[in-house]
Symmetry: C2
Subunit: 273 residues, 2 copies
C-alpha cells in the first residue's frame, strides 16, 4: 500500500542519513519529504535535490528558519543572516518553502517579541520570493511562548500574515500546536481564504508528556481530535500533504523501521478509515 498524500519530516527518523530517509520513505510508499537543516549539513544540496526527485518524492519544506527576536539589533541582524543562509539552502534543495519557528526572548514582552518577528519576516519576504521560497509561519503551542515562539496560535499567525500582507508569506499548521483552539475551524477557513494555508503537519499531544520538547505522540497516542481537524482542512480546500513530524525520545530509541510501520498503521487508521 502506498500513501501518496503522506510526507515525513526527516527529524522523525533522525537516526537515518538523508540518503536513507529518501530511499526508505520511497520504499514505504510515502509521497513527500520535508528536510531538516541538520539532516543535510555537509551534504551536496544539488545532489540531495536530485536524489529526492529520482526517488519519486516531492520535496516540501526546509525546516527551519526563524528565531527573529533578540535584545539587540545585532542579534536580530544575525538572525536575518542565518535565515538568508537557510533560504539559499532551500533554493539549492529545490524546496518551495522555509518553515519559521519565529522566536521569543526571555525578558521581552509577548508584544515586543511579536513586533520583532513581524519586522524580521517583512525584511526577508521579497528576497525569499525572488528565490522561489515561501516563508511559512508555524504557530507554536503556548508551551513555547517564552523562549521559542511568540506566535502561540493559528489566530495570531493569521493576524501576523494579515499585518505583513506579503504574497510570499503563509502558514505551516501543525496539529500539535493548534489543536486546543476553540475557534480553529474559523481560523483554518480564514487562513485558506487568504491563501496562507500552505502546509499541514500532523502528530499527537500526550497530556501526560514527560518532556516538553521530545515526547510528542504518534497520531492516536494523545488527545488531539485529528479527524475533526482533518475535516476542517478538507472543508477549507486544503489538498496538500499531511506531513508527519514527531520528536520523540522514546520512538527514537527504537528501530526506525518499527517506527515507520507504526506511523503507517496509525495514518491508515485515522485518515483512511
Amino acid at each position: 500500500m502506498s500513501y501518496p498524500d503522506l510526507a515525513l519530516h526527516t527529524v522523525t527518523t533522525k537516526s537515518w542519513s538523508i540518503s536513507e530517509c529518501i530511499e526508505q520513505y520511497a520504499r514505504y510508499g510515502i509521497g513527500g519529504i520535508s528536510i531538516w537543516r541538520s539532516a543535510v549539513e555537509g551534504e551536496d544540496l544539488c545532489s540531495v535535490q536530485k536524489h529526492v526527485k529520482d526517488a519519486g518524492l516531492t520535496g516540501i519544506s526546509l525546516v527551519r528558519g526563524g528565531f527573529f527576536t533578540g535584545k539587540t539589533s545585532s542579534e536580530r541582524e544575525a538572525a536575518l543572516e542565518e535565515n538568508r543562509q537557510a533560504l539559499k539552502e532551500a533554493e539549492c534543495l529545490g524546496l518551495g518553502s522555509l518553515v519559521l519557528v519565529c522566536g521569543a526572548t526571555v525578558g521581552q514582552t509577548p508584544q515586543e517579541n511579536y513586533a520583532q518577528i513581524r519586522d524580521g519576516i517583512a525584511a526577508l519576504a521579497d528576497q525569499a520570493q525572488h528565490m522561489g521560497v515561501r516563508l511559512l509561519v508555524e504557530p507554536l503551542h503556548p508551551i513555547f511562548a517564552g523562549d521559542r515562539s511568540a506566535i502561540p496560535s493559528l489566530k495570531v499567525a493569521n493576524d501576523l500574515c494579515s499585518e505583513i500582507s506579503h504574497p510570499n508569506v503563509g502558514i505551516a499548521l501543525d496539529t500539535y500546536h493548534v489543536w486546543w483552539e476553540l475557534d480553529l475551524e474559523a481560523q483554518v477557513q480564514r487562513a485558506a481564504k487568504n491563501g496562507w494555508l500552505d502546509t499541514y503537519h500532523i502528530c499527537d499531544f500526550k497530556p501526560d508528556q514527560r518532556d516538553l520538547l521530545n515526547d510528542r505522540g504518534l497520531m492516536g497516542e494523545g488527545c488531539i481530535a485529528l479527524s475533526q481537524i482533518d475535516e476542517f482542512m478538507k472543508d477549507a480546500g486544503f489538498d496538500g500533504f499531511r506531513e508527519v513530524e514527531i520528536f520523540s525520545h522514546s520512538w527514537w530509541q527504537r528501530d526506525p523501521h518499527e517506527f515507520m510501520e507504526a506511523i503507517l498503521t496509525a495514518y491508515h487508521d485515522i485518515y483512511y478509515s
Copy 2:
C-alpha cells in the same frame, strides 16, 4: 514589613496544616488566604473560618471545583454533585468564591468539552448565588487543554462568561496560564468592564520546566512579564489581592519558612519597587 495586598494559596505551603498556614501567613504580615479543599479535609470548617478571621486574614477563594466534562451524563451529574459539596464547604468557610478548573475529557473535542463546561456552570450559578459563593472560571494554560480544562485563555473565559451571562459567574486570572496572550490587555479590560475580573493569582512560568504540573516558578524565576500584567490589572481598576499559588516539587522539598522568605523577597522586588 507587612503585605496587606498579598494572599497565599495553602497549596503553596502544603506541608503546613491549615492552622499552621493561618498562623504563619498572619505572622509574615500577609493579608489574605485562599484555601485548598485538601487542606481542610476532616477539619471543622466553622472553626477554620473563625481562625482565619481571628488571625486578621481575609479569606478569598476555595480551590477548587470544576471538572464538569465527562462522556456520560452520569459522570457529568456526579461532577455537579461534587461541586455542590464544594459550594457547601465554601459557605461554611465563609469564602466568597469557588475557583473552577473546568475540565476536559480525552476523546472529546474542545468544542464538546466547552459546551459541557458551559452547561455545568449554568446549572450551578443560581444555587451558588443563594449560598453567597461566586463561581470563578480559571482559564488554564493550553498545556492542560487535553485533560484539565478546555478554557485555554482569558479570551475564551470571557467568551464563556458572556455566553453564560450570570451575575454570579466571574474569572480567576492566573499569570501562569494567560501571560502568553497577545491581546491580554484588551481581554483584561473586557473582563473588568463586565464585572468578571474577580481574583488574580501570580507566579512565574519557567520555559525549561521539568514537570508540567509541579514546577511552577516563583515570581522572577521565569519568562512572564509580571510588571506589565500588573499594570494591565491596575489600569482595569482591579484592587483585590495578588494571590501567590505555586506548585513546585523543588520548593516543597525545602523548609516552608525559606520558601515564605523567598516569596516575600520576590514580591517586594516586583511589586514594591
